[in-house]
């Protein structure tokens, strides 16, 4: 029996030493980039690795921000100028990859995610960090911009060139760039051997791994009140993105105008107040949250299906919560008396 006791003792000692090792820790850091506050949480690492992770994220986000910022003087502004002149533009492989993914997502969303309506967004005044409460554009101007109907379908991409057959195409990747940047940052983290982290850029996030002994817990903010409306525990590698009418807006003459412009009408989409999407790829989740917000209460299940999104929560103006069956299985509603409609599109 002696060897058994001995090995039990050995296992017990090992257990004790394991316990007295570094306790579970979450390092958090805040940084300002992408025009927003980025929160980084990294679990169970020594400080040097955590700092390295923050540096990786900061660098990756800054690269995408510089390249694709819609209204700061930079590469994208030059591209937009050349597009307006009908020129063929030479692009590198990373730009190709970015544009190709955006084009595919736009096609899958029936062009509801439309990153070519930059001039419409500019007319609405959302090409500034802080839009003043001034008058919205006139109906005439909106109609003029809308009738040109630019979309990603006007774009032809080759490995090295970009051309457009519609001079009205003006890129604005506000509903895609953040997700793309987060994806890039997370890929870099994984390559650096970091397994457990959350990158949260202005409320939209991708979480990998876990908080050690339990999954990462994400609270989804209530779209019109203080506090949290729902919570999600992430599993493995997931992105949680929300588009809401409360994120950027201005008030004029007693009316509120938000930043999610429906390319079909030229006006802010008003059927939903927020849409939350879970998908492993952050860029896809980003574009889908916007497209489904514009699709609204009746059209979203179809667009979600086309985009390959099966976890959606949409909240309408009466605070009715619409959910896909898969979302309903995993999300925890945190408010009382919620009106919930589960849309099962597996019929």
């Amino acid at each position: 029996m002696k060897p058994l006791w001995l090995s039990l003792l050995l296992i017990a000692t090992l257990g004790i030493t394991a316990c007295s090792e570094a306790p579970p820790q979450v390092h958090k850091a805040k940084l300002f980039t992408l025009g927003t506050l980025v929160d980084v949480s990294v679990h169970h690492l020594d400080k040097a690795s955590a700092q390295q992770a923050v540096k990786i994220i900061e660098d990756e986000l800054a690269i995408i921000n510089r390249q694709w910022h819609a209204w700061q003087d930079g590469p994208l502004m030059q591209i937009n100028q050349q597009l307006a002149q009908g020129k063929t533009i030479t692009i590198d492989s990373s730009s190709h990859h970015f544009l190709q993914q955006a084009q595919r997502l736009a096609a899958n969303s029936d062009q509801l995610f439309n990153p070519t309506i930059g001039s419409l967004v500019e007319q609405w005044g959302f090409h500034s960090d802080d839009r003043p409460d001034a008058a919205p554009p006139t109906k005439k101007r909106i109609n003029a911009a809308r009738k040109q109907m630019p979309s990603m379908a006007n774009i032809t991409l080759t490995a090295t060139t970009l051309t457009s057959n519609n001079p009205a195409v003006q890129f604005d990747f506000g509903a895609f760039g953040k997700g793309y940047a987060i994806d890039r940052a997370v890929e870099q983290l994984k390559q650096a051997g970091i397994k457990d982290a959350i990158v949260n850029a202005g409320g939209d996030l991708r979480a990998i791994g876990s908080k050690g002994d339990r999954p990462w817990r994400i609270g989804v903010r209530h779209p019109s009140e203080a506090g949290v409306i729902a919570s999600i525990e992430t599993d493995g590698d997931e992105s949680v993105f929300t588009s809401g009418n409360y994120e950027r807006f201005f008030d004029f003459d007693g009316r509120r105008y938000h930043h999610i412009i429906d390319p079909r009408s030229g006006y802010p989409a008003n059927d939903a107040i927020s849409v939350t999407v879970i998908h492993n790829n952050a860029a896809t989740a980003d574009a889908a949250a916007t497209a489904l917000f514009i699709a609204g209460t009746t059209q979203w299940p179809q667009i979600a299906k086309q985009m390959g999104i099966d976890e959606v929560m949409l909240i309408d103006n009466d605070l009715t919560i619409y959910m896909s069956a898969k979302m309903a299985q995993r999300i925890q509603i945190e408010i009382d008396d919620a009106q919930i409609k589960i849309i099962d599109d597996e019929r």
Binding site: G203, I218, R221
Partner: protein, 118 residues
């Protein structure tokens, strides 16, 4: 004392109880602690005995976790007020090494969410 003086004294007499009630309610045992170093926050569990060495603005501060309590044991500051703060064990207790920009706060419960989506 003028009438205005009395108002000021009254104001102070009302402010102090308010501050104590608003800041010092709850005497729960601490479960975890947050350590803030400059702009970085680290959340540590008090369930595991452990010693942390943290590089701050001036040098290395040592923070010790033992039997569900946490304290500064060494710091490169002159006054050593952080060390004199002693063991922290109840939710809300706090110690700081201002020159080294490192502070410790005890939390009664772990934050419910790791990140907020909006």
């Amino acid at each position: 004392m003028t009438r205005a003086d009395y108002y000021i004294v009254l104001f102070a007499a009302l402010l102090l109880p308010y501050l104590y009630i608003s800041q010092w309610t709850g005497d729960k045992a601490g479960i975890s602690a947050t350590i803030m170093n400059g702009n970085e926050t680290t959340e540590v569990s008090l369930a595991h005995d452990h010693t942390l060495e943290i590089d701050g603005a001036l040098g290395t501060s040592t923070i010790k976790i033992e039997n569900g309590k946490i304290r500064f044991t060494a710091s490169p500051c002159l006054g050593k007020q952080c060390i004199h703060s002693g063991w922290l064990e109840h939710a809300g207790e706090f110690a700081a090494c201002l020159p080294n920009r490192i502070s410790v706060a005890v939390l009664g419960e772990a934050p419910r969410f790791d990140s907020i989506n909006f």
